[in-house]
């Protein structure tokens, strides 16, 4: 199967200059949900950030989606298609609605418009059915923020979602329901997802696992 997404090779080191990985290459196929696992501090988040293009990465790193290659000034467009849901569910100050609408207000929104009824459907799906769009995000609990971030990612519906611990702080039942949404997302044509999981027992449901350990990326 041809690669849907290709990114790398990337080098990274941590704050103290210790090498996290060298020449890491990531390849993802279409229509699959892949889990990225490995010891904490091993560079999982760094790898996701590199793939998302939030770090420029080393010389010669290539980012390709289908047949389109992105670099330099086209990285914002890449990020709108290969979207990182960062750890700890960051939010902009303002309301739930402001946050859900954020991607649709940026330059690379394409022809997509924010549809409040879809937003409400997704809030419902992540178990935030009674959440009002005008609620201030500062009043949300950690678990609610994570679910809102997931709803935002799914609403934006990019070809590739890179989710860094999207289910942190959720109880098992909610985590399972939310994970199923991510699976549904990934299995559609023209989509794929790479997920760092907190609840590893959910990993059995995925289509593949990539392990990042001591600087090596192993696909299984």
């Amino acid at each position: 199967m041809p690669n849907f997404l290709e990114a790398g090779p990337f080098d990274a080191s941590d704050g103290e200059g210790r090498v996290l990985f060298r020449d890491a290459d990531l390849r993802l196929s279409e229509g699959r949900a892949t889990v990225l696992e490995g010891p904490s501090g091993g560079g999982k988040s760094t790898l996701l950030r590199l793939v998302a293009g939030l770090h420029s990465g080393g010389r010669g790193a290539v980012r390709r989606l289908r047949d389109d290659v992105y670099a330099g000034a086209s990285l914002p467009l890449w990020r709108s298609k290969v979207t990182l849901m960062a750890q700890d569910a960051p939010m902009i100050p303002g309301t739930v609605g402001d946050n859900l609408e954020l991607p649709f207000r940026l330059r690379h929104r394409g022809d997509r418009v924010f549809e409040p009824h879809r937003a409400e459907d997704l809030l419902d799906a992540v178990g935030l059915g009674r959440m009002r769009l005008d609620r201030q995000v500062i009043t949300l609990s950690g678990g609610e923020r994570h679910r809102l971030a997931l709803a935002r990612g799914l609403l934006w519906d990019p070809p590739v979602l890179l989710a860094d611990e999207p289910l942190a702080g959720l109880d098992h039942e909610t985590a399972t329901a939310c994970f199923d949404l991510l699976l549904d997302f990934s299995h559609r044509a023209g989509h794929t997802a790479l997920v760092v999981l907190h609840h590893m027992e959910l990993a059995v449901k995925t289509d593949g696992v990539i392990r990042l350990d001591r600087g090596r990326l192993d696909v299984s």
């Binding site: 998302a52 293009g53 939030l54 770090h55 420029s56 330099g72 000034a73 990285l75 914002p76 467009l77 990020r79 709108s80 298609k81 979207t83 990182l84 849901m85 960062a86 700890d88 960051p90 939010m91 902009i92 100050p93 954020l102 991607p103 940026l106 330059r107 690379h108 929104r109 934006w156």
Partner: protein, 265 residues
């Protein structure tokens, strides 16, 4: 008293120094720990202003355009250094940026005010050029300093928010809109306060000085308005340009944050 100026000598200045000693006593009494800094600042005031007075007497007497230009350049260098001396964070190149911003602001705002608004003749007349440029520099120093401090703080403490924008495809400009906005707003708070309170809460310093020196109040007011607008422009331009200059160093054109170039102090 027919508009004459009461001249101040050493005795009067020593009496005034007692006021600073009082301020120092407050610091000691409440253990604020700023006694030393206050003393150093007071000594600097005396030495720096004293030297300035001597230099100005000479410059006014010599009436040389080159000398005026040299003096303005030196003032710019000092202002640029002071502007970034107390920001909470710094990056490599912060001083060069600060100097370029200062020089640019000075040239534009100072040029317009001295040459077009007031129409100083000859163009370099030190009696006008030096104090006006001094005020521009002093105020854009404040603007740059506040704006940079805020901008650098926003980038590092609210990094996740900036990157959230980037993650959904924001351009560098879109991702930096909020931090730039709050930086320039912060930089402009002092001058907006000063303009809003002018004449009601406070008599602006320059106007006070002119009136003390015997100018007719309406003339002093006219000059003060020019000066206020001049300062507003200098602060706005300085605050904005400084934040943009920092953004260019700390954010790659593709939007990736280079906060590794930023360090606390």
């Amino acid at each position: 008293m027919s508009g004459g100026v009461i001249s101040l000598g050493p005795v009067q200045l020593i009496l005034a120094a007692l006021l600073v000693v009082m301020a120092g006593a407050v610091s000691v009494a409440f253990r604020l720990g700023i006694g030393n800094r206050l003393a150093v600042a007071a000594v600097r005031t005396v030495v720096q202003l004293g030297l300035l007075g001597l230099v100005l007497e000479r410059v006014f007497a010599l009436d040389s355009p080159a000398l005026v230009v040299v003096l303005v350049v030196i003032m710019t260098l000092f202002a640029a250094r002071e502007a970034v001396a107390r920001t909470g964070r710094e990056y490599r190149g912060i001083r060069i940026d600060s100097w370029l911003v200062m020089a640019g602001t000075c040239l534009v705002v100072g040029g317009v005010v001295t040459q077009a608004v007031i129409g100083v003749r000859p163009w370099y007349d030190p009696q006008y050029v030096i104090p006006l440029f001094g005020m521009i520099l002093g105020n854009s120093l404040n603007g740059i300093s506040l704006s940079l401090d805020r901008f650098l703080d926003h980038l590092s403490s609210r990094r996740a928010e900036v990157e959230l924008h980037l993650a959904f495809g924001a351009s560098r400009r879109e991702a930096l809109a909020a931090p730039l906005q709050s930086a320039v707003r912060t930089g402009m708070i002092p001058i907006i306060n000063a303009m809003a309170a002018a004449g009601i809460v406070s008599l602006p310093g320059m106007m006070t000085g002119q009136i003390l020196a015997g100018s007719p109040p309406l003339q002093a007011v006219a000059y003060q308005i020019v000066v206020m607008f001049m300062i507003a422009a200098a602060t706005a331009i300085g605050a904005m340009a400084a934040a943009i200059a920092a953004a260019r160093r700390l954010v790659a054109p593709d939007g990736a944050l280079r906060l590794d170039r930023l360090r606390d102090r």
